[in-house]
Chain length 480, copies 2
């Protein structure tokens, strides 16, 4: 292609027209992913992977701060090991990928590619935990797992995805429950403070628990289109796995006991959540904390004497305080503006001959496209403020979206009516506690139970479905 | 177990008695790994994984410094994709693990778990590279790969191992060759500066090339027992893969061209190399740059008033300048000394009541067990010096081992004699360039070709085997 034929930034489908198409357009055009010939698996491209690296770095340090250590388990699980815990195998076997051949030889026992690693951790715990002195074990690993999903979408549901899985073992049930809650709070804090994403903390109903868990806690976020997204989970296992795997330790009185266990995980799904929480019709909007590039410097009229030099100087100064980059390619400024809006770079700095003359530059925040003129000698002060503004601004917008789209309902008819009138969202409604009503609400209204929130309210005294006395308030919604 | 029954540090097999047993003893007793029920796969435990995290962090920043970006490809390769490059599939198919079932369904096409990812990167490059403006692509990924080995050993040869694989695409052959060499130098520098491990840089003979490569460069290290270990490789592919995968770009003259490609990798094998280069009969000896704990503070007579407080204060001070930790458990100081020698902590600091009285502490370097008394107010100055001393000391020892065990030979008889008299090591000997002689030397003497070093010497004018004119000097040796 000749030098003059510049790639133009292609526009994307508008959110209101087709949210699903808008989503995949962003995944592709912001260069986050690319499809592959392996159905349901994707390439995470440099720009997408850099977001994941930022998520990893921050979460990893939060985990380590609390005493967790990283390990690495094998990616394969022998079928017999997976089968040791009954509920667990029932939940996962149907979606396992099975290795049956090694080289030219058929394996004696087939191996599944880990869909999750509780069984491997249990086998290991049995080997290394003997005394109360060996507890707690606070382990985590950053790996990929495989679940043979039928329908897949980038980041949201893929056959292979990246995640971290924490696995901990404790002397008492209380300690394990505390850990389960602590880690859910870590996820919620992370979403709020780094992804600018408000979430509801709660507990899954029994029908929605992780296979083998006694309790599953979750955080639920509301996407721009009013659908819910489970952003992370934290499970309390009691001593069920310990009994199945015969993990025992001698306590201070030299008595053999079963330890109590947890696991918790967050995945590349968080990137999907970021896209659908903050994005707009111009593309991605990235929270500054995880944006690969926080500030993009765009020289204007860069062929004029002194512009590039001054722009590079400015970039060097910005690099000391944030992840800054310059685009000095020969694409037009207009093309660059559109490109970095598409890529969701939180702050753009424009600098041209007139700006230099007046010792200033133009600072544009991505989320609201507001421009302001900043004296060059104040830039190191202003940029951190602007990044904070972006974070606060997109958090506020997401919170308002969630609040506007959260409805209290007292009957299934009301649920149907409210959603029809206002579009999808969270429905707060009471529940008697029976799986039957849970299923029926979903059947009648289309919204399933998301969680019993930690902060329950009393919307009414009766179950939204059967009218019997309510036991819990539930959040309901359509979900990704 | 009762409080008083303390685990005693178990001794390990001596190196001279049984080097292989010594090695696995260290892997287990320094708590680097644990075996699993998945044959040939291991758990990398927190202490072992922390070494890998340090290796990752350092190498990753060296890669990024040179402009490489991280990505993530799927872990599966469809059989038809693997088959696109003839030599490549021949080399790898025999050791692939094959997924044939997804859930309950037989797959239409079986998928191998990546043994390496050239084919996936090629498929991706074909999608994203169109113009000279898209080049070079400098990609890397940190993942695990699977090769169905028959015999396995922790870190050295396992069915699954962790690694990074760099994959780059360039407009010209020259650029690609430069990249191949550049990355080999990065590995060699990393081994010298961070692992304190001297290496020989060279090129593999044709029979030893990576499947599909035009040239394979490698670094070869010499272990304590005189066996060689290939510590990293860097491959130049020419445009062979590009042709097989039909990757083309239009150059500045708008002409369609095939790009040139490289790949390069280093694995958890480096941890095995560290063990066998620096370890001794008391256990592991870790290079300070990758040691999870660089300084372990051991309080002496810690029940006495003020000792623990002062020891914690000292630890806090040390944490500002290095990875320091305190062991204030109720194990005896003697037990702790042995434990952290086993774990290869580079520097130990002892502090007891008398030390405190005299405002001093005792500093012991792991590699030579030398003690010195250091005034407490000088500790922040002395510790970095001590860490440098450990690095320099173990590098020197490894270099001397390599030099002492490197022999120049002019005939196969001489090779046999020298190795018999002195034990295993590197043999420098001339070679005519024929695969026949390469095989014959191995058959007769037991040592295979390791590499043609970048710095060749002229040991003689004739091939060590056939006596015909020599084309190259080779390093020969038994290898892990």
């Amino acid at each position: 292609m000749a030098d003059k034929q510049k790639k133009m930034v292609e526009s994307i489908t508008s959110m209101d027209e087709d949210f699903a198409k808008w989503y995949t357009d962003i995944c592709k055009k912001a260069e986050l992913i690319e499809y592959t010939s392996v159905k349901g698996c994707m390439v995470i491209r440099p720009y997408g992977y850099a977001i994941w690296e930022n998520i990893q770095r921050i979460l990893d340090s939060m985990f380590k701060e609390l005493g967790h250590e990283n390990v690495c388990m094998p990616m394969f699980i022998p079928e017999s090991l997976l089968q040791k815990e009954k509920d667990h195998v029932e939940g996962f076997a149907p979606e396992c990928a099975w290795v049956t051949m090694g080289g030219d030889e058929k394996l004696e026992e087939r191996l599944c590619v880990r869909p999750t690693s509780e069984t491997l951790f249990c086998e290991h715990f049995k080997n290394v935990v003997h005394s109360y002195r060996d507890l707690p074990k606070l382990y985590n690993q950053w790996v990929s797992v495989v679940r043979w999903e039928k329908t897949t979408r980038p980041f949201l549901r893929s056959r292979e995805f990246l995640w971290q899985e924490g696995h901990t073992l404790h002397a008492t049930a209380q300690e394990a429950v505390e850990e389960t809650e602590r880690m859910l709070n870590v996820y919620a804090d992370f979403c709020r403070d780094y992804l600018a994403m408000p979430v509801i903390k709660g507990q899954k109903t029994d029908s929605d628990k992780f296979a083998g868990a006694e309790r599953t806690y979750c955080i639920e976020a509301l996407m721009h289109d009013g659908k819910a997204l489970q952003a992370a989970t934290s499970h309390y296992f009691g001593d069920g796995f310990a009994r199945a795997f015969e993990i025992q330790f001698s306590d201070r009185e030299n008595k053999l006991c079963y330890p109590h266990q947890t696991s918790w995980g967050a995945t590349t799904r968080l990137i999907g959540a970021v896209i659908m929480t903050h994005g707009d019709d111009n593309g991605l909007v990235l929270p500054p904390a995880v944006a690969p590039v926080q500030v993009m410097v765009v020289p204007v009229a860069q062929h004029k004497a002194g512009v590039l030099d001054r722009a590079h100087e400015l970039t060097a100064e910005l690099k000391k305080i944030c992840r800054a980059k310059i685009d000095d390619s020969d694409n037009s400024p207009g093309w660059k503006f559109a490109e970095y809006e598409m890529k969701g770079v939180p702050v753009r700095v424009e600098i041209g001959p007139k700006d230099i003359e007046m010792n200033q530059c133009v600072v544009v925040t991505r989320h609201n496209r507001e421009k302001c003129v900043v004296p060059l000698d104040k830039i190191s002060e202003i940029i951190p403020q602007k990044l904070s503004e972006v974070h606060a601004g997109i958090y506020q917008k997401a919170l308002e979206n969630m609040q506007r789209r959260t409805y209290c309902c007292k009957s299934t008819d009301e649920i149907i009516k409210v959603l029809n009138e206002n579009g999808d969202g969270f429905v707060k409604a009471m529940w008697c506690g029976s799986e039957e009503c849970e299923d029926k609400v979903k059947e009648i209204t289309g919204v399933g139970s998301r969680c019993i929130p930690f902060d329950e309210e009393e919307i009414s005294e009766k179950c939204v479905c059967c009218g019997k006395p309510a036991r819990h308030m539930l959040y309901w919604g359509k979900a990704y």
